[in-house]
């Protein structure tokens, strides 16, 4: 079996073909063994990388599910860390509120940045913009919180939903810009040429051909950023601060957020608060999962439409 394989593999090279069959099969067996060993090492590496992830998921589901109930989902936070009862509804509303604000700001700006970088690549600004988005992606999120804290919270606005949303949007913009850039680059030049060949202007090509073609990828890119923003705690500490009730105001009142409540309840020594924090973690995880599924469905629907 191994001999026939080797001879077919090397029959293009007359010189190697004339080498002894036993030697060839020996080489082949050694190469095959080496390949299997390397494959085994790679598999172990994957296992090692996935184990903590699986444990986190398992633990969040196990602990979260036992504390999760209708009351948790439908009532606002219990002021007491010691007593049982109450839920994270205020945090859920706050998180959705701030992520929505952040998305309204960050999605257009991020996609616009990516569009400029790809479609206007003749501009001398492009390398500068790319460098800048790369740097922004690496900025620690607490700095972003500090920045908004200094100019908006201390600047007279106080802690607010808007301050939290702005901080999250600053985190989202570079992620969306970077990921969208890759997606827009994937749109084949054939389509651009076809559109230009019909007498389209650049903005028509970009708005009506390139961006719709990249549509589902842009949604995925945005969702990546939404998932990241929904779980951020640090930038909200200095901008949204936290609240015990549902806050409909955009300005003038501190806002609650799921990660903030989880942080506050998990760091104390009290068991009922810990249980709620686990349920909150599960809720946050499910929220991100749900948003991702919705985005996928929208993406698939737009793909099916074209």
């Amino acid at each position: 079996m191994s001999i026939t394989t080797t001879s077919t593999e090397t029959n293009s090279s007359q010189k190697r073909f004339t080498l002894g069959a036993s030697k060839m099969s020996g080489n082949y067996a050694a190469r095959k063994r080496k390949s299997q060993i390397m494959e085994g090492i790679l598999f172990l590496a994957i296992l090692l990388a996935l184990t903590p992830l699986a444990l986190i998921l398992f633990e969040v589901i196990r602990r979260g599910a036992s504390a999760m109930n209708i009351e948790f989902l439908t009532s606002v936070q219990n002021i007491s860390l010691i007593r049982e009862g109450g839920g994270y509804l205020n945090g859920l509303v706050g998180t959705l509120y701030m992520v929505a604000i952040a998305s309204i700001i960050a999605v257009p700006l991020g996609v616009a940045t990516a569009t400029y970088v790809v479609e206007y690549s003749d501009s001398k600004l492009v390398p500068f913009i790319q460098f800048f988005t790369d740097v922004m992606t690496g900025v620690p999120s607490i700095f972003v919180g500090l920045f908004i804290y200094t100019i908006l919270v201390q600047g007279g606005g106080g802690f607010s939903t808007l301050a939290g949303g702005l901080a999250l949007s600053l985190l989202m913009i570079p992620i969306i810009a970077r990921a969208s850039e890759e997606v827009i680059r994937l749109v084949p030049d054939d389509l651009r040429n076809a559109a230009y060949g019909l007498g389209a202007r650049r903005w028509q090509v970009v708005m009506q051909i390139v961006l719709p073609t990249a549509g589902s990828g842009l949604i995925t890119a945005s969702m990546l950023a939404v998932a990241r923003a929904a779980g951020e705690t640090a930038p909200l500490l200095l901008t949204a601060l936290g609240a015990f009730k549902i806050v409909p105001e955009l300005l003038g009142s501190p806002q609650a957020a799921l990660p903030l409540i989880i942080f506050n309840e998990a760091r104390g020594p009290f068991e009922p608060a810990h249980a709620r924090a686990w349920a909150g973690a599960l809720e946050l995880m499910l929220l991100v999962l749900l948003l991702t599924l919705i985005a996928r469905a929208i993406g698939r629907k737009t793909e099916a439409a074209i």
């Binding site: 040429n193 076809a194 060949g197 019909l198 007498g199 202007r201 009506q208």
Partner: protein, 264 residues
């Protein structure tokens, strides 16, 4: 008998290149092209790979402008005006001089939208359904797609996609249609259909077609221009004449060698 290219005058001239050179950066890709294209006729550009025939074709509707390093010297006269004059809008030129590409490249939109899009962005105000139907009929595609206009353009076969691209070009109502090896990605049957279609289209449009396939040039064109690559790697026009003359009594030895398959 078709008139000789030298006798084309304002009455039957569609577009004319005069001493045109095209550069990509410092590299001269084609040199000193002078050529008159007759209205309502099919003109084929043939020649070996790299001889610049596609570059010449793309110069006729300023598609080369999209390549940042490309530069054109000389003149291309269209209705007596040089299309490379500073006050000429290249978008306006591309509306009058349409293009069909080597690989079928329909938009990721419905069949209907593929045809309607170009007309719409060009400000077409008439009955869109009618325009879509007549364009698809001109491209000999209507009967195959009339019941599935809302399906994606990608659901069609390669040959159908290329006819959709032709319909899309026709819908903008151009004067001239440039075709850059439109059948090179298609099978022989689909190729023949496109060739038949091109014959019908010349009633209303002037067609310039680049082809690698000499049989195609011989079968489907009225005039043939043979390009070759010089020692400095720049393409130049070797011979241009009525197609039967090129294929039966070529004046240049290189032309004869090329059409008889001795090089290229």
């Amino acid at each position: 008998m078709m008139p000789n290219p030298n006798s084309f005058n304002n009455g039957n001239l569609a577009v004319e290149a005069r001493n045109m050179h095209v550069y990509y950066g410092n590299f001269r890709a084609v040199k000193d092209i002078s050529l008159k294209v007759k209205r309502n006729a099919i003109t084929a550009f043939i020649g070996p790979s790299g001889c610049g025939k596609s570059t010449v074709l793309r110069s006729f509707n300023r598609m080369n402008d999209l390549v940042t390093t490309a530069r054109v010297e000389g003149e291309i006269l269209y209705h007596g005006n040089n299309i490379y004059d500073n006050d000429v809008d290249p978008v306006e030129i591309r509306r009058r001089i349409g293009m069909v590409f080597q690989k079928p490249n329909p938009f990721p939109k419905s069949i209907y939208e593929n045809v309607a899009w170009g007309a719409r962005i060009n400000g077409y105000k008439g009955d869109m359904d009618e325009l879509v139907e007549s364009s698809l009929r001109q491209a000999a595609l209507w009967d195959e797609v009339k019941d599935k206009l809302n399906e994606s353009g990608y659901s069609l076969s390669g040959g159908q996609q290329q006819r959709l691209c032709i319909a899309r070009t026709v819908a903008v109502k151009p004067d001239i249609i440039l075709m850059d090896e439109p059948t090179s990605a298609l099978d022989p049957v689909a190729t023949l259909r496109i060739e038949e279609l091109i014959q019908d289209l010349k009633e209303k449009y002037t067609i310039i077609i680049v082809t690698h396939n000499m049989q195609q040039a011989a079968r489907a064109s009225d005039y043939t221009a043979f390009f070759n690559m010089d020692r400095d790697r720049a393409g130049y026009l070797v011979e241009y004449d009525r197609t039967p003359d090129i294929f039966t009594t070529p004046q240049n030895e290189l032309t004869e060698q090329y059409i008889t398959g001795r090089f290229g």
